[in-house]
């Protein structure tokens, strides 16, 4: 049984199919990359999984249980956490409080003092211990992204959806972020990541799904995807495909 499975997932905005009849699956322990040109429907797919939107038609299953149609907070409590493309932290709250929210309201009911110690642990895990009491809005973008990850992890997810976590990072930050994702995988958490940064995708992912204009056009290991004529066409245009 797949950890996460989507069948015929579709959604229209006005007349446009943002996501069109997509079948996908994610197995426990994997790091799956979700790539595609801008506007391909990647974040929309995340929104459909995390229930910010409802698929119409289509169904999504988590651990065999249908989750399409549930409210976002229920999805979180079932064990799916996410970060956002535009970082959505709680700006006026201190860094540690941001993480504590996740610890208190996530998948497991927690006592207040357990939540605080869990939050401290997670801040260490992502490397934010030094700024624990800084208001979140005063952090750099790279730190804010890490904070979002810490908050998501605090909800004790089985599945973590990362939306363009690597965007805007310099090479050092990028390496650190890639390390972080590997650490998360080691903890036993399954990860799906939307990315444009190819180095990260090729470097960490076990499997890659490619979307274009809302449809799934390719799926496979990084090596398969890198050599796929379809994918190269989509990213670079037909005339750029070298004939073999």
């Amino acid at each position: 049984m797949h950890l996460l499975e989507g069948k015929g997932v579709t959604i229209h905005f006005g007349g446009l199919a943002a996501v069109s009849d997509v079948d996908f699956y994610v197995d426990k322990g994997e790091v799956v990359g979700l790539i595609g040109p801008n506007g391909a429907g990647k974040t929309t797919l995340f929104n459909l999984i995390s229930a910010a939107l409802q698929p119409k038609p289509g169904e999504i299953f988590f651990n065999g249980k249908k989750i399409s149609g549930l409210a976002p907070y229920k999805i979180c409590r079932l064990g799916i956490a996410r970060t956002f493309q535009t970082v959505k932290i709680f700006s006026s709250l201190p860094v540690i409080e941001n993480v504590r929210v996740g610890a208190l309201f996530g998948a497991q009911k927690r006592l207040k003092k357990d939540a605080t110690s869990a939050a401290k642990e997670l801040l260490e895990f992502v490397g934010l211990s030094d700024v624990a009491n800084t208001p979140a809005k005063d952090l750099t973008l790279a730190y804010q992204k890490r904070l979002e990850v810490a908050r998501a992890l605090a909800t004790q997810p089985e599945l973590l959806l990362l939306d363009e976590m690597m965007a805007g990072l310099n090479p050092t930050e990028l390496t650190e972020a890639m390390e972080l994702v590997k650490k998360i995988q080691k903890k036993g958490i399954t990860v799906v990541m939307i990315e444009h940064v190819m180095k990260a995708i090729m470097g960490i992912c076990d499997r890659i799904i490619v979307l274009d204009y809302g449809k799934k056009i390719a799926e496979g290991t990084p090596k398969e995807i890198a050599n796929s004529k379809t994918v190269i066409e989509v990213y670079l245009g037909v005339s750029n495909v070298k004939s073999k």
């Binding site: 910010a52 976002p72 907070y73 959505k88 929210v101």
Partner: protein, 324 residues
């Protein structure tokens, strides 16, 4: 938590000063200053309404214009259950009845509107006072044949003590909400609803419950004030000005912490008292409306915000290095 680890100074500041003020207020009627009791009652009414309003609208950003509706329900509860003639229930019971009625109404209104964008909520609440007026007026005049009711009169002292009690309850509710995880949830919802929902918070329920709690507190005030004005009918009970004043007081005072609304309430209820008994009686809606617009434009963080900014500037000036 052992005694030595408590920060006594902070505790003293946090609890001590308010406690002293509370004791002073509780002893007020003993000084024989009749006007003072009446005036402070008036302050307390608006302090409670304003803090209750900020408790929900300040925290979530959903602007409620329904304060007058819940206050009116309280007034009617007093008219029905604490009348001048006939069977009259104890005030505390009537407060609970009025509070419960408002809680239920607010819960229903919240369940319908708080799942949607904030503008629907504002739209729904601003007409609510007119709706309640029409419905109750219809029931009273056409079905029950009543042309106004009389509430049992209570002494100024009784009114004062009940209001003080409701105020203490309001502050305690606010304090406990802030300290528990529900306060954190409320703050998260106010910061970023979508993120809060995806972090496992049942955002809609948090909003609905906070709205209902604030409604119950507003109702309690209405119950008590009915025993002062005695005559009650649909048009006096449901007065849009009561939706307006707490919002003005909160915005003017500043909503970053609890002192802002309280100070705003005291200042404006005093101004209102002066205007209503003076020659400017016919102008006070005009004056308050203008002050609100001016505050929104020029004092976005309210009076408290202004004071805090000035304080920061003074402190900054003191610690800046001297030019050499």
């Amino acid at each position: 938590m052992n005694l030595r680890s408590l920060n006594w100074k902070q505790l003293g500041m946090g609890f001590g000063i308010p406690l002293i003020i509370l004791i002073a207020l509780a002893l007020l009627p003993n000084y024989g200053w009749e006007y003072g009791v009446s005036l402070f009652s008036y302050f307390l009414v608006y302090m409670i309404l304003t803090v209750s309003w900020v408790l929900f609208s300040g925290a979530t950003g959903y602007i409620s214009l329904a304060t007058a509706a819940f206050y009116g329900i309280g007034i009617y509860a007093a008219a029905l259950f604490h009348p001048a003639t006939g069977l009259s229930l104890p005030l505390i019971v009537v407060i609970i009845i009025g509070g419960a009625a408002s809680f239920i109404l607010a819960f229903i209104v919240g369940a319908i509107t708080l799942r949607l964008k904030g503008i629907y909520f504002a739209m729904f609440t601003f007409g609510l006072v007119l709706l309640l007026f029409q419905v109750i007026n219809y029931v009273e005049t056409s079905i029950l044949g009543q042309r106004g009711r009389f509430v049992a009169l209570e002494s100024n002292e009784t009114i004062y003590y009940y209001l003080l009690g409701i105020f203490v309850v309001t502050m305690m509710v606010t304090y406990f909400i802030k300290r528990t995880k529900y306060g954190l949830a409320l703050q998260s919802v106010g910061e970023n609803e979508e993120a809060a929902a995806h972090t496992g918070i049942n955002v809609t329920m948090v909003k609905i419950l906070m709205f209902a709690i604030s409604a119950a507190l507003m109702s309690a005030v209405g119950v008590i004030m009915a025993t002062k004005t005695i005559y009650v009918d649909a048009s006096t009970a449901f007065n849009p000005m009561i939706s307006f004043s707490p919002a003005l007081m909160a915005i003017f005072g500043g909503m970053a912490n609890l002192y802002g609304p309280v100070i705003g309430a005291v200042i404006f209820s005093y101004i209102q008292e002066i205007l209503q008994t003076g020659s400017l009686n016919n102008y006070y809606m005009l004056i308050f409306g203008t002050i609100l617009i001016a505050t929104i434009l020029y004092l976005p963080n309210g009076l408290m915000g202004l004071i805090q900014n000035l304080w920061k500037r003074i402190k900054g000036a003191r610690s800046a290095p001297a030019r050499g």
